[in-house]
């Protein structure tokens, strides 16, 4: 079964085998408001944990998505190109951004589990 982990920058990664699907959390989409553009990485691109891997633009502002883990991009959610509002509608599922093959699964230990992330969001008020 896939395990979901979270960053303090409000990204999630669902890991299954050696691959991880990445997106932004529901809290993040609520904070951003209406999303109008998503700039996705290219398939084959290497992303590094904690570094910018995608950009999401709401009506008000542009924000970066930082990769929750390192690896090679193996798929991107093309549906977001035409319909970026999917991120608002279903951030944790249909609003996924891209998928990587993990280069170092040990990196995941630095992330928060669902309970810890929930507690973290609540602490933000």
């Amino acid at each position: 079964m896939a395990k979901v982990s979270f960053t303090r920058e409000h990204e999630w990664i669902k890991v299954d085998g050696g691959e991880g699907v990445i997106g932004i959390t529901n809290y993040a989409q609520e904070q951003l408001g209406d999303i109008v553009f998503v700039d996705l990485p290219a398939v084959g691109q290497q992303v590094k944990q904690g570094e910018e891997a995608a950009v999401v633009e709401s009506v008000k502002a542009a924000s970066e998505l930082y990769a929750p883990a390192s690896g090679e991009v193996v798929a991107v959610n093309e549906a977001l190109v035409d319909d970026p509002a999917r991120v608002n509608e279903d951030a944790m599922n249909r609003g996924w951004f891209f998928k990587i093959s993990l280069s170092d699964p040990n990196e995941l230990s630095a992330l928060l589990d669902e309970a810890a992330y929930k507690e973290y969001v609540e602490s933000l008020g």
Partner: protein, 369 residues
């Protein structure tokens, strides 16, 4: 919209109501204001199809009294307020001695007085400027105790006429003192969205009751500053501090139409020599609209280049335009690259974003005639 996070924020009389309605509150011009309720795009589209209610109580409202008030204020602005008929509203500009814009404002001729409405972020400076220049000719009375609401959208007139039947006869840019329910209000037919609508001044103690009265109408939904900004951008209306400031002149800003014919001939306002010379010779740069391809949004501060890569200007407001359906911007461009149809580009995160200079407004105005 950024403020130091710990600065003490002022509230409007409607702050509690905004929170009750689930607004996301943000600091703006020293006030805690609603950014959005249901979402910027939904609120924006509702303003173009139904009616929305904005709280704009952070704006500065004041009265100028005295028989000489219009003639005195006339010396500070580019419009002709002496000729402003009773019951009419005028959009005008306070200018500095360099021809720059100190603020844009609405002036209402109330008969025995003038009402002025200025931008929240500029009100202290404006009132100090007016007081310093003309205090011996009229009395400036700052309205600290009045709220300002804006009801905007194609359904606004129908809604307001239900509550105050005489409002339906009001012309665009006119003012009436009306009772909405049992609440005495000053109402102008005006706004900042490109749609028909009204701006309503009311004492603090009646503000919540009035807002609830208007929101109880089926067509009306609350809207926040986010939608207000996208609506005014599509309507080609300037935001002070972004699109106009003390370094931009009315001619560069495309606001020459606010300079009354008599003032074009005789001047008599701060910076008149510079402004009238620019009118004659043409400005070196002009405010334009740009519509971009794709979905990435070039924003304020982004450089605009020719398709060959020569820099020709800067974006002063940029956003996704919900009714236009694409990214749009206002920019100042060198005049020889500012005509509609000129192809330009911005660069965003290292990628070129092509666009085209278009005529403002992006969305046609639909004011009452």
């Amino acid at each position: 919209m950024n403020q130091p996070p710990h600065a003490a924020l002022k509230e409007t009389p409607l702050t509690a109501l905004h929170k009750k309605l689930g607004a996301k509150m943000v600091p703006f011009a020293g006030y805690e204001m609603p950014l959005q309720y249901s979402g910027i795009i939904a609120e924006h589209l509702h303003a173009r199809s139904g009616a929305v209610l904005f709280d704009v109580s952070h704006m500065g409202q004041a009265i100028l009294r005295g028989p000489d008030a219009a003639a005195a204020l006339n010396e500070l602005v580019v419009g002709d307020l002496v000729k402003l008929p009773v019951g009419k509203v005028r959009y005008t500009l306070l200018t500095n001695d360099r021809g720059g814009i100190i603020d844009d404002l609405m002036v209402v001729n109330g008969g025995y007085y003038l009402v002025i409405v200025v931008n929240a972020a500029r009100k202290e400076m404006d009132f100090a400027h007016i007081y310093a220049r003309i205090r011996d000719r009229c009395q400036l009375e700052i309205w600290e105790d009045r709220a300002l609401l804006a009801l905007q959208g194609p359904a606004a007139a129908k809604v307001l006429s239900r509550l105050a039947p005489p409002s339906k006869h009001m012309m665009f840019m006119s003012m009436e003192n009306l009772k909405l329910g049992d609440i005495k209000c000053g109402v102008t037919r005006s706004g900042y969205t490109g749609e028909d609508g009204f701006e309503i001044t009311v004492p603090h103690e009646d503000a919540t009751r009035l807002a609830e009265l208007l929101l109880a109408e089926d067509e009306v939904k609350p809207a926040g500053l986010g939608a207000r900004d996208t609506l005014r951008l599509e309507a080609g209306l300037c935001l002070y501090g972004n699109d106009i400031d003390e370094e931009t002149t009315p001619v560069e800003a495309g606001l020459s139409w606010t300079i009354s014919p008599s003032r074009k001939e005789q001047g008599g306002f701060p910076g008149d020599e510079i402004i009238l010379r620019q009118l004659l010779e043409g400005p070196g740069r002009k405010r334009v609209g740009i519509r971009f391809e794709g979905k990435a949004v070039p924003r304020s501060g982004a450089e605009i280049e020719t398709m060959e890569g020569a820099p020709i200007g800067l974006i002063t407001s940029g956003s996704y335009g919900p009714s236009v359906g694409s990214p749009i911007a206002m920019a100042y461009l060198a005049s020889d690259h500012a005509s509609a149809g000129t192809l330009v580009r911005a660069t965003l995160r290292g990628k070129p974003v092509p666009g085209e200079v278009v005529k403002l407004p992006f969305v046609p105005h639909r004011y009452a005639s």
